[in-house]
Symmetry: D2
Subunit: 194 residues, 4 copies
């Protein structure tokens, strides 16, 4: 089982990045998985614009991200809630990836997690973030993890120290890995075949 | 009543731009309104990134857009459906605007319209597009207009020639204008006061 | 300005009823409004079923509720979150009301509030509850109130004692009343004219 | 692989029932599956009301439906769109089922299909119908089937004669069966173990 993870926020040290790195540590330690962690800031891409695609083609960063994402069987994404919805970074990524043939997202398994300073943990945004992925044929895991009060949930080194949130994250990650591992064959690594 | 309009797609000649220009013509001709039409392509802004905001401040294009949007009492936006959701352009715009103080969106009236090549007219995307605007205090008009089969609904000059869609657009625009005009006082032109 | 209020839960003493009664007390005391409070339990109606409508007609309880709702300019509804969505009670009510001609909901103003034992206050359910009302032409106020940790937010007598939630409720009710009062003329009392 | 199917509308001869029966015929003929078809009208249950649960317990019809649904590995539901959302019948069913222990829905696979007289095929309703199922741990298949213009899509005998819709239904059912069959072990038949 190959897994790729990333955060839907760009800022260095964002809580979304802290959360996905916490998930990575658990996946590596508990399950011995080699996680391919992607920092979207290192692969800049523009807002989706059909003119760009028609004049210059799909950006090379998107092609690279498509290859890495396509090589994974499963994804874990930490999706920030911005104004009740998906981040523009994630939406632009999804819309660009949807232009690649064959599709790197089709048939993949995805777990969405999130953290926010509010009491809701950004759960409204998580529900909206599901939609474009499902639209593109991604099996989004029903359970999600929304970490509330992020300002105190993480320590200075970026570790998730809120016990309740930490337990929930570990449980859902465990359930997610078990679900994906029960699937045979795993989703074809479509992009590698191209 | 001051009204600003724009499309949530960047491509020159996109059906979203054709649709919003059709709405502009109707608003000007029928109601004598002076519409402030904004082409987002002429005001480029990046994906939302807190690092940019903290290092360079809010982009000057966003400040300009905030002033024009803030000066309007009502907005008409043609929102394309991309993969079942909001376009990354609109989402990035909303998220950047949400960083301005005072808020240029708070209390404004908004009508959402859309067009798509599909039979649904992109109505799933329209419903999702409501959310971040409502989150920021915008009164999104309940009725929306989704123009299906856009490839044949517009003629070569960009005029909406589908009679049913055209009638629906005119009716909903008329209802929207009547609703906003019944509101006294109109939402404060917050940005002009700053 | 005439206002009708109700809860979307049936249980006697439900937190949704406690919350809407709290709102009623504030509306009466602060604004001197005569609130028409409706207890849906006293007006039982079935799940929506076209066979019932065609064989027996629209239930008489629905016609009565339509008259009372139609006589109001504005509504405040406390909507519980059940499994991330709208309660079946509210959805059945909306679907039955949508069969009345003229529509008692069209053009009305609505504020949605909610309370739940969770940390999110049932905010995911509130967002989904907006949709069928907006579909039917209701102006749903953008701001909503989600009271978290309802088990301790109310006292034994049903008063909202959580200071933060109480302040938010009062502020949003005040904003809502001001918004509706700025609208002239108020939505026609459609049902009374029939 | 055991599969149960039903429609989210009660009316005899509703297009939702026609659609799910069309799906049943395909599943039986193409894959030799023994489908357990449930007509919800034959198992009446009330709007969800905590008072009923506390005074009389969970309705016996719900317990029976829970057993049949729990015995299936996968579900196909034809979900009508009512006012942009889920039908009250489906929502009441889901909310009642959520009170059973162990949960008959947890971990099941679900395909949602729908039909409507409109050009959108009720796709807005399908997207909202996903949510309470996903909330309860159901793996809702990303692809869905929305049959538009139902008045002419079915013949007098209830057969789906719109070629495009028929082809889409068969393809998505085939993809769904393949996906579920790749999962080993299939979701535990939780209710039978109790």
């Amino acid at each position: 089982m190959k897994i790729a993870t990333f955060a839907g926020a760009l800022r260095k040290g964002s809580v979304s990045k802290q959360l996905v790195l916490e998930a990575n540590r658990f996946l590596e330690k508990r399950f011995g998985l080699a996680v391919d962690y992607i920092d979207l800031k290192e692969h800049p891409f523009p807002l989706y614009d059909t003119d760009i695609e028609q004049q210059d083609g799909i950006p090379s960063t998107i092609a690279e991200l498509g290859t890495r994402i396509g090589a994974a069987n499963a994804l874990v994404i930490a999706a920030p809630e911005y104004n009740g919805g998906i981040s523009s970074v994630l939406k632009a990524l999804v819309d660009w990836l949807s232009r690649l043939q064959p599709s790197p997202l089709q048939g993949k398994f995805l777990l969405l997690v999130g953290a926010s300073p509010s009491g809701s943990g950004g759960v409204v945004g998580l529900w909206h973030t599901r939609v474009p992925f499902e639209f593109l044929g991604v099996h989004v895991f029903p359970a999600m993890v929304a970490v509330p009060r992020s300002a105190t949930a993480f320590d200075g080194a970026g570790a998730l120290i809120d016990e309740k949130a930490r337990g929930k994250l570990h449980q859902v990650l465990t359930d997610f890995v078990a679900h994906v591992e029960n699937h045979h064959p795993l989703p074809t690594r479509i992009r590698e075949a191209s």
